[in-house]
């Protein structure tokens, strides 16, 4: 479904990704793990169109997406839940979700999508009229994911969803993400919390200093030095 081939990208004179190649098949859940500063966030920003790659190709369902602006990428079916959630703090929960469905194709199924999101995250239904900025960390993360779901994507990019959350909350969150996955969405998740995320996904890549160092099935990798490496890298 998603394919990156030799992608190189960076900011100004600084290159964050070197010749990165990876694949995500439809229906899969794939993780990209690695230490701080490895380039994981840059990777997702390249895919969602917030940054243009300097080299290589980004292909989604056969369409070349590299270099296209974000609003175009989301129209092709990729939703990005950014690092730090990036909710609209002064808008209510309901309004945030409404914005998630900005695309004409999403608006047509607004009611349906909204019900599904409220079914997955009942606490959001309770807090519909509350300002997003006043929610707790866990609730904000749920809203961010829910907002992404509103655009009716095929692929969801999650950037460090566990960041800043209490361990109990993290467990709940990953549980919810697996339920989202069961709903038929393909997931690409970037995380520092290696142990937890490997229980959730099918495959994983290790990204270190802008390069893919390792890849494999989650079950195998969890056994390995891989895990230790990622932690030591931290």
């Amino acid at each position: 479904m998603l394919e990156l081939n030799g992608v190189t990208a960076g900011y100004g004179a600084f290159t964050a990704l070197w010749d990165v190649s990876l694949r995500v098949a439809a229906g899969e859940a794939v993780a990209v793990v690695g230490p701080n500063g490895a380039g994981k966030t840059t990777l997702l920003r390249v895919i969602s169109g917030l940054i243009a790659p300097r080299g290589g190709r980004v292909t989604f369902e056969g369409t070349e997406l590299g270099g296209r602006p974000a609003y175009d990428v989301v129209a092709h079916g990729i939703a990005h839940v950014p690092e730090g959630r990036r909710l609209f703090p002064l808008l209510t929960v309901a309004e945030n979700l409404k914005m998630g469905a900005f695309l004409p194709s999403a608006r047509a199924h607004f009611r349906e999508s909204l019900e599904r999101v409220y079914a997955l995250f009942p606490v959001l239904a309770e807090r519909q009229t509350q300002r997003a900025g006043s929610l707790s960390g866990g609730e904000q993360q749920m809203l961010a994911v829910g907002r992404a779901l509103m655009s009716r994507p095929k692929l969801i990019l999650l950037d460090e969803p566990s960041m800043g959350l209490a361990p109990v909350m993290v467990l709940r969150l990953f549980d919810l993400i697996s339920r989202v996955r069961e709903g038929g969405f393909t997931i690409l998740i970037v995380e520092q919390n290696v142990r937890q995320v490997l229980k959730l996904v099918d495959r994983a890549y290790l990204l270190e200093v802008g390069r893919i160092k390792m890849e494999g099935r989650a079950a195998e990798l969890a056994e390995q030095d891989f895990v230790r490496q990622a932690y030591v890298g931290l």
Partner: protein, 288 residues
């Protein structure tokens, strides 16, 4: 001692004035709140719309309501033009350059108006009755302008809260990247904002020409007051500007009756300066 009747009349007139000032301030605030640029020439654009209504009504005998609609459309068009031609090139310039770009527009509009229409003061005389309520006289023109201003503001409120585009405009001022991730184009949202802000100027123009005379320097006369209202309410804060407009209007109206018209403005401006020191972020500043 001043007859309380005159005072009451001044208060009522202050409320009526406040409505129109609020309309002026909201348009400016909308643009600033979203795009983060102060259109120094905003009220000069209002003046251009005033001229349009004036000419349509006096030269071509158009009905006022129709001229008003044209004014709104023209305002929206001016908003779009200003955004495309002047604002877009300077979006990343330092703030002082941004201020000067719209300041240059002020010079341009004022001198262009002088060139085309001389410095004569022009107003649209509307034959409307004066109402008498409980001993005070209220000009129906002012009442109508007030009512229409309130209507326009309600329409703006509904637009910003009930429509996708309106909510997106509020969103883009909070997080530009995030709204792009939802499929909205920030540049397009800015354009719509400028058009809406311009349309508000058009409404204000139509409502002002029936109360005040227009001349090329109208923007310098009402402009500073409009900026002060925006700052007083907290730049970008729509609700704040709404209330600030009425506060300033009251001071101007009552002060105008107690001392003199000009001193009314002076007192209002001095109060503004004092209030800025008491609450530098505006009296309704949000603790952001």
């Amino acid at each position: 001692m001043l007859d309380p009747i005159f005072l009451l009349e001044a208060v009522v007139n202050g409320i009526l004035l406040g409505g129109v000032l609020a309309l002026l301030a909201l348009g400016l605030n909308l643009i600033f709140g979203v795009i983060d640029i102060v259109w120094i020439a905003y009220v000069d654009l209002v003046a251009l719309c005033m001229y349009a209504v004036y000419f349509l009504v006096t030269l071509y005998a158009w009905p006022l309501w129709l001229a008003g609609l044209v004014s709104i459309g023209m305002g929206a068009l001016l908003g779009v033009l200003v955004h495309l031609l002047i604002i877009t090139p300077i979006l990343t310039s330092p703030p002082i350059n941004q201020l000067l770009a719209t300041g240059g527009l002020l010079f341009f509009v004022q001198s262009f108006a002088t060139l085309l229409w001389s410095t004569d003061h022009r107003s649209v005389r509307v034959a409307m009755p004066t109402l008498e309520v409980g001993g005070i006289f209220i000009s129906f023109t002012r009442l109508l302008a007030f009512a229409l201003a309130i209507l326009a503001m309600v329409a703006l409120y509904l637009f910003l809260t009930r429509t996708y585009t309106g909510t997106a405009i509020r969103a883009v001022s909070q997080d530009r990247e995030a709204i792009a991730l939802m499929g909205a184009r920030p540049q397009r949202l800015y354009l719509v904002t400028s058009a809406v802000g311009g349309a508000m100027a058009g409404v204000a123009g139509a409502l002002l020409i029936i109360q005040y005379a227009v001349h090329p320097y109208f923007g310098s006369a009402f402009g500073p007051l409009t900026f002060m209202i925006c700052v007083l309410g907290g730049l970008g804060n729509m609700v704040g500007a709404f209330f600030a407009a009425f506060i300033m209007a009251q001071i101007i109206s009552v002060g105008g009756v107690i001392v003199s018209t000009e001193m009314g403005y002076v007192i209002a401006f001095v109060v503004f300066i004092v209030l800025m020191f008491v609450r530098p972020g505006g009296i309704f500043a949000r603790r952001a």
